[in-house]
Amino acid sequence: MTKNSTVSKVLEKTYQYGFLSEVESEKIPKGINEDVIRLISTKKKEPQFLLDFRLRAYKQWKRMDEPTWANINYPKIDYQEIVYYSAPKDIEKKKSLDDIDPEILKTFDKLGIPLNEQKRLSNVAVDAVFDSVSIATTFKEKLAEDGVIFCSISEAVQEYPDLIKQYLGKVVPINDNFFAALNSAVFSDGSFVYIPKGIQCPMELSSYFRINSGDTGQFERTLIIAEEKASVSYLEGCTAPMFDTNTLHAAVVELIALDDASIKYSTVQNWYSGDKNGVGGIYNFVTKRGQCKGRRSKISWSQVETGSSITWKYPSCILEGESSVGEFYSVALTNNKQIADTGTKMIHIGKNTKSTIISKGISAGHSKNSYRGKVHIGAKAIGAKNYSQCDSLLIGDNAEANTYPYIHSKQVVSNIEHEASTSKISEDQLFYLRSRGISNEEAISMMVSGFCRDVFNELPMEFASEADSLLGLKLEGTVG
């Protein structure tokens, strides 16, 4: 009895966002077919081109096979058992925050993302997505003064159809992979960002994704466009209640940077990761890709991946523009029975393109954590440079860490450096810190943050400390 309650206490501590909100929602029947896709499109009052886009994707998807990977095993997903659209009831009618179901506002309050005017974060604009729809976007008017568009993608489809038509599916084609095709067919909502020429976005933009229904897949779609000499820093966060079934999350993110533009995209991923025995949790199968289209453009991905029962994601950069720059900074922490297979692809096409990869994997419990990355230097990429550093840290004796770097170069005049290391937190290190009065858990989390420092330095200031404490929470109960 006592033992049980201690265990559950640790679990509660480990995942403090596992609550379920009582919100009346409108769901469509589960399963996927052409009618369901038409229904989603109708509900969202979409133009014909988008319905055509969805149907094309669906046709492709039906012909594709679900991928399998060396290090990931999971029970077969029954795609007819998933609900593809769920929205809090009557959401379409809501015009202002006052009309939104207070339960939803409370949910975001509890998550530390207050949406109402008085409490909201002062220098961060937030788009809050609840299940399949965007609930509210803050600071929209203020951003509009600079011509910056920040809204839900559904709204963008209505208000800026030309931009959507021009860019959607251009970086991640509908048939890119199985999950991207599925997303293209059924995506419900997500964020849209457009930074006009020469504008430095005056505040951090942030999207916050919350899955609430247990049987609903979340298929969000994010599109960010930075015009010439524009720059923006964007952060996404995500959480979900604890369910003992697995929920599928298959998002697609596309970034486009034109001449001299820069996009910094940061993720703090904290989906529910399942319990100690690996029951429940989110399958996080995500396609993220950025296109450095313009000269001297720059795309920088930074991610802190701590949640989900399985993570499969490779935020990548296509370095097309001459002298464009791609960066990938990643911390992936797995505990209990979590599996993460994450990394990046840096595709060097243009001359003098540069990429940097810093990956830090931490494996605790019985988890598996793999870095999988590809550096490709094309025939025309004279003077291309890549630096990769992949470090793994093991905690305990039962966790696994793997590194799979793939390097292809078709250009002699290029420079690729790869460094990798694996280390373990030693008993002597722990004892040293403990003999100075620092508790076991604090000692581990200190060493882990030390290990991750290079990556935390790349996160937006506001979130670096949050990421640090998140890792601390996740590691509670790993040793002892």
Binding site: Y432, S435, R436, G437, I438, N440, M447, S449, G450, F451
Partner: protein, 258 residues
């Protein structure tokens, strides 16, 4: 003399590692204001004794007690022992990559302050405190910005131990071969630091092979350890004898009968 309060009492302590006995009945009493030196050859159990007092999890105590200020330490976690005021200066201070020395020191100091019911120090307050203490070990500020012991020279590591001792204000400091690997100048700095931090309310235990440290820090008692026991206790004179005659001539009085 008897008025002095007992700080640490070790009673008939047996301990070992992975089934191997190392300490075979150690008895020791340390009062406030005293400086003790424990000498002995390699493998005599000196370092083990210090680690067992600090609570290293690899060592198992089979019997005996370690009473610190009327409390048995043997069941306490290492961090609790430290917070109660027990300090171990490591023979080989451990490197912890990526963790900034100043961050580590601040967390450690705040853990101890909590027990002393003092307020937690913020980054700025701590900086002031640490700068005062840097003078004791004659270190520069940039030393704080580096990783804990990361790439430190032998001398720097030992000075960092003394800096920690200064900041944590322990009641008893057990310094395991703090003199090893130091040149004469560094030895003087470290010794001066230890002398400065010692007081009537505190106790200091020096574990060493050599008499040279004892020229800088005058011990009240010198103990000789052999085969996991303290076989002889004397004053400063004993260390000088030991230096002259070598460990060979010192035997456990009980062994002589065999």
């Amino acid at each position: 003399m008897n008025q002095k309060k007992l700080i640490l009492e070790i009673k008939d302590l047996y301990a070992g590692i992975e089934g191997k006995d190392i300490l075979n009945g150690v008895n020791l009493k340390i009062h406030e204001g005293e400086i003790h030196a424990i000498m002995g050859r390699n493998g005599s159990g000196k370092s083990t004794l210090s680690k067992v007092i600090a609570g290293h999890p690899e060592y198992t105590i089979s019997s005996g007690e370690i009473i610190f200020k009327d409390k048995d330490l043997t069941q306490l976690e290492p961090e609790d022992r430290s917070n109660q005021g027990v300090f171990l200066g490591f023979q080989y201070p451990i490197e912890i990559a990526g963790v900034k020395n100043i961050d580590f020191l601040r967390v450690a100091v705040n853990a101890r302050r909590k027990i002393l019911l003092k307020n937690e120090l913020d980054t700025f307050e701590f900086e002031d405190l640490v700068e005062e203490n840097l003078r004791i070990v004659k270190m520069e500020k940039d030393f704080l910005e580096r990783g804990v012991n990361e790439g430190f020279s032998g001398g720097e590591k030992k000075r960092n131990e003394i800096l920690q001792m200064a900041l944590l204000e322990p009641i008893i400091s057990i310094l395991d071969e703090t003199d090893s690997g130091l040149d004469i100048d560094a030895l003087r700095i470290v010794a001066a630091g230890i002398n400065k931090l010692h007081s009537d309310q505190k106790a200091t235990v020096l574990i060493t092979h050599y008499q040279r440290l004892l020229n800088e820090i005058k011990p009240d008692f010198v103990h000789i350890m052999k085969d996991g026991e303290i076989i002889k206790t004397g004053n400063k004179q004993l260390a000088i004898e030991l230096e002259r005659e070598g460990y060979e001539n010192f035997q456990n009085p009980l062994d002589k009968n065999k």
